[in-house]
């Protein structure tokens, strides 16, 4: 029942998103023919230009274009990329794996490292260890990703020559071996993780610290439980719903946060693609990319809700205790 309701809401949101992106993209200044014909677009005669636009269906009013797009999309035809002259799904399919690898593994690393780091800081709060970690963390969080990326390239690729500076695998070795891909992944992954880690670690630290002041912590210490036990057994449990929600909501943010890093490391992923499609009015490609990230955001939000309902008994609607306290 509620699943169907949620599914309908999800589809409706996607529909509204598609309409909005469709209109905004077409209202934005720029010439979509450039991405199809490249330089030649500027030298087209008015008649040729009109013919080209008619061929791509760009001469009709926007709502007609949109309805046509919707019709095709429902049949599974999402159009072609003007630039790559290929089905958009093929274009995206070629790259999405790379981004998921970089963003997904990065996400898991950020998630677990931040939790560990935050707990360490909270356990030894205001002690030297915490103070050093806080200072260090603030500095890394302030370094812009592109600059950090360049620095990493300079040190590890140019000076030390330990790791490759660009691509997802070595040239010629199509697909590459696992070790090769790992070597290519190391630097961009470091940049992605370092850019986000402290923000989440600090969130965990503060959430846990807040819990440490709660009455139940005092009571448990009075029972004779050790601080570590209370931290891991109770504070963490209380913090987890909030943290999982934040992480789930931020999943697309971190996945998409690889854009800059992908660009600097010339890493063939979605990030670079999105940037290009928006820059050069590659309409159909842009649509699919936007819908993809929109869907990701919505799915993650639903995931976050489901997760916190699972972890926190207070969120559940199934409370059947008697009603007693009310002011």
């Amino acid at each position: 029942m509620s699943v169907i309701k949620r599914l309908l809401a999800f589809l409706l949101s996607l529909l509204i998103l598609s309409a909005a992106v469709f209109w905004i993209a077409r209202l934005a200044p720029g010439d979509p023919l450039i991405s199809y014909y490249g330089e030649r677009a500027e030298r087209l005669s008015p008649a040729d230009r009109a013919r080209a636009e008619a061929a791509l269906g760009l001469d009709k009013p926007i709502h007609v274009q949109y309805l046509r797009w919707l019709q095709n999309a429902l049949r599974g035809d999402l159009g072609i990329s003007y630039k790559y002259k290929q089905n958009v799904l093929t274009v995206i399919g070629d790259r999405i794996g790379n981004t998921l690898l970089l963003g997904g593994v990065g996400y898991l690393l950020i998630f677990s490292l931040a939790l560990a780091l935050g707990l360490v800081c909270a356990r030894w709060r205001d002690r030297p260890l915490d103070k050093i970690l806080c200072k260090l963390g603030t500095v890394t969080a302030c370094i812009p990703e592109f600059w950090l990326s360049l620095l990493l390239i300079l040190v590890f690729s140019v000076t030390l020559r330990w790791l490759p500076s660009s691509g997802a695998w070595s040239l010629g070795a199509d697909g590459g071996s696992a070790a090769d891909r790992l070597r290519h992944l190391a630097l961009p992954m470091t940049a992605v993780v370092a850019g986000h880690l402290w923000y989440y670690a600090y969130t965990v630290r503060n959430l846990v610290t807040e819990q440490m002041g709660a009455g139940y912590v005092l009571l448990e210490r009075a029972e004779g439980l050790s601080r570590g036990r209370i931290l891991l057994g109770h504070c963490l449990r209380n913090v987890l719903p909030s943290y999982l929600t934040i992480m789930a909501v931020d999943l697309p943010h971190i996945l998409g946060g690889t854009y800059v890093v992908e660009t600097v490391f010339s890493y063939p992923g979605i990030g670079t693609l999105s940037y290009e499609s928006a820059r050069y009015q590659d309409y159909d490609l842009l649509m699919v990319l936007c819908l993809l990230s929109g869907a990701a955001v919505m799915v993650c939000n639903m995931l976050a809700q489901a997760v916190s309902r699972r972890v926190d008994p207070r969120m559940g609607a199934g409370m059947d205790g008697e009603v007693t306290d009310r002011g």
């Binding site: 009455g215 210490r221 009075a222 439980l225 109770h234 209380n238 207070r314 409370m319 007693t324 009310r326």
Partner: protein, 646 residues
């Protein structure tokens, strides 16, 4: 005989940005095994800091010094955290004030008790620990222990949670229980059960307890000995009968004289003048001197030592020095005789007429709670009408319906002939807005923290475009402030700069600035200390006599209601079960719930409290089905089958 707890010359200071606060100053105290000692004092007197010091759970910015601090023969000064941990729970254990926050909301109560059981017996098997946890739940008389084992704290009431906390505290069989205001957040009926439980546990397990409380009546009910604390020091200590029957310190006199339960009807309460001193740094000499009407010159110079009154009774006041002048105290000990109940129909014009007021709040999951169930009553002009009932009985909902804050689902509220929830003309709406005012319980929450006292008091005048009768809004604010007993230096203070009592005065001044005909006060005393409660209570009485406004006073404190009100209504689960002139109600309660409430309320008289039978009843079991009938002249009650009219 070796004492269980021995404290000698214990001091605790807190390093705050503003300077060092000496929270506990040179406290010497001991406790025998199986003894219950009440630590009584107003907020900020160092009661809690003393408890935390014994537990070794002071915050990081605290420093502690003591000549001796030993529990069960172990000196715990300078013990390492790991060694302290072995003692906590096993030798001494703690119960905190707020049962809402002292349990982990994400773990079932059973799991939390089991964890406490295993904290000192890690080798205990799972089933064995569970069995032990269930035993503990039985021990604290939590009904349906097995069914509650897998409940989350959020599914239990406040009283049930406090029982769980008690079970956790008793898990490893401690010799000493430190209970920090264990009943403050609870209703009188639940409070009575928990206090009885403390004594039962002492009898069964021999557990000694330090009961920290601000309520003298609670101390009288549960404690063998009482220590009165003021400004970080113990000023009087002795057996309960001695401290209540023959108090020697002027501060104890002041506390007792401020209790409405000890005052005769019509007598005014004594309000200790001034405020407790700041302890950063503490004043020279006796910290109480400037509030003490019996202060001697030496009080301002030197701190008094503990003078013995008897072998067990000591007080720190220079009045006990042989050279001091003889002072006769003017405080009554023991309860006054009840006044002759008056049985007269209420007279005067009806100002507020509430008829059949009903409201049901929806809850998640399709359930709902009936907050008001056909409540009808009338308040006449110039009357002080008290409304009592425990939390959740619908008192606040009623106030909200009367004040046009919450629209009731059924019933009418007619004020001065105007149906306040009907169609209103402009003039009527304006009349209702300006003619009725309300004061809330929590003045810290109900006053805008970014407005000064002057702005707060004048705001209702400004928003209603009332021409200030004294020239300017500021002059009006100054006048009202003076009227509630604060001088003009408070005009530019923000709520956070005021104490609880001062904030409540500002809230009252704000309500009175509109010169209302009806003042509604929803638990205006609940957040205040005893001596401040007396001040505010006297202020209400004084202002009502001066202004002649009609007053709807909502409270759970039966003694305060008895002291202040002309007529009292008793709300039980949303239904008005009894309505009578005050003395009539207190002397001849007819409804069993009213009787239970009156029986459960502790009184500041230890001799009487010792003779009291244990308080056991099921709070939900009273009959509330019948209609409200007039059993005697002006005395209405819901009477079940077996209840006969007198």
């Amino acid at each position: 005989m070796e004492k269980l707890l021995q404290i000698e010359h214990l001091s605790v200071c807190f390093d705050a940005p503003a300077g060092t606060v000496e929270a506990v100053r040179d406290v010497t105290l001991d406790l025998a095994a199986g003894e219950i000692l009440a630590l009584v004092g107003e907020s900020g007197c160092g009661k809690s800091a003393l408890c935390r010091a014994v537990m070794g759970l002071l915050p990081a910015n605290a420093r502690m010094e003591a000549a001796r601090l030993s529990v069960a023969g172990t000196d715990i000064r300078g013990l390492r955290e790991r060694d302290m941990r072995r003692l906590r729970g096993k030798v001494f254990s703690m119960v905190l004030q707020d049962p809402m926050t002292s349990l982990d909301p994400t773990c079932t109560v059973g799991a939390q008790i089991t964890e406490a059981v295993r904290s000192h017996a890690p080798k205990l098997g799972k089933d064995e620990a569970r069995r032990r946890a269930l035993e503990l739940m039985e021990l604290v008389k939590l009904d349906g222990a097995a069914a509650r084992y897998d409940r989350y704290p959020g599914e239990l009431s406040g009283g049930q949670r406090q029982l769980v906390v008690l079970a956790i505290a008793l898990a490893s069989g401690p010799k000493l229980l430190l209970a920090d205001e264990p009943t403050t957040a609870l209703d009188v009926t639940v409070q009575a059960q928990i206090l009885d439980l403390l004594r039962d546990i002492r009898r069964e397990l021999g557990t000694a307890a330090v009961l920290v409380t601000h309520d003298l009546a609670v101390a009288a009910r549960a404690a063998d000995r009482v220590a009165v604390m003021y400004a970080g020091k113990i000023v009087e200590i002795g057996r309960a009968e001695e401290v209540f029957g023959d108090p020697r310190h002027p501060y104890t006199w002041g506390l007792l004289a401020s209790l409405p339960a000890l005052a005769k009807k019509g007598e005014s309460l004594y309000a200790i003048p001034g405020m407790p001193p700041t302890l950063a740094p503490p004043p020279k000499g006796d910290a109480f001197a400037c509030r003490n009407e019996f202060a001697l010159a030496i009080d301002y110079e030197r701190q008094p030592p503990m003078f013995p009154v008897t072998d067990t009774h000591f007080a720190a006041t220079w009045l006990l020095d042989p050279r001091a002048p003889k002072v006769t105290r003017s405080v009554r000990t023991g309860l006054p005789d009840a006044a002759e109940p008056e049985r007269r129909p209420p007279a005067g014009e009806v100002l507020l007429d509430v008829k059949g007021l009903t409201h049901r709040f929806p809850l998640p999951g399709g359930r709902s709670v009936l907050a008001l169930d056909g409540v009808s009553f009338q308040i006449r002009k110039g009357e002080i009408f008290g409304l009592v009932g425990q939390s959740g009985s619908g008192k606040s909902t009623l106030a909200r319906c009367v004040m046009n804050i919450l629209r009731p689902q059924a019933g009418t509220v007619v004020y001065q002939g105007v149906d306040v929830w009907g169609r209103l003309s402009r003039a009527e709406r304006r009349m209702l807005r300006t003619d009725r005012q309300i004061v809330f319980q929590d003045s810290a929450g109900s006053l805008d923290p970014r407005m000064t006292a002057s702005e707060l008091i004048a705001e209702p005048l400004a928003v209603n475009h009332v021409v200030p009768p004294r020239g300017s809004l500021r002059a009006e604010a100054a006048f009202q402030l003076h009227y509630v007993g604060l001088d003009p230096s408070y005009l530019d203070k923000y709520p956070a700069q005021l104490s609880g009592g001062q904030r409540q005065r500002v809230a009252i001044a704000r309500a009175l600035a509109m010169e209302p005909s009806l003042l509604v006060a929803d638990e205006p005393l609940a957040a205040l200390d005893a001596s401040i409660q007396a001040q505010i209570l006297e202020l209400f009485k004084h202002l009502q006599a001066q202004h002649g406004f009609t007053f709807l006073f909502i409270a759970h404190d039966l003694a305060a209601v008895r002291h202040l009100c002309d007529r009292v209504g008793v709300l039980y689960r949303g239904k008005l079960v009894e309505l009578a002139p005050t003395e009539e109600l207190y002397v001849n309660p007819l409804h069993p719930y009213t009787r239970a409430l009156l029986e459960a309320a502790p009184l500041p008289d230890p001799v009487r409290e010792r003779r009291r039978p244990p308080c056991r009843f099921d709070e939900a079991a009273f009959d509330r089905s019948g209609p409200l009938v007039e059993a005697a002249l002006g005395h209405f009650a819901v009477l079940g089958g077996e209840e006969a009219a007198p």
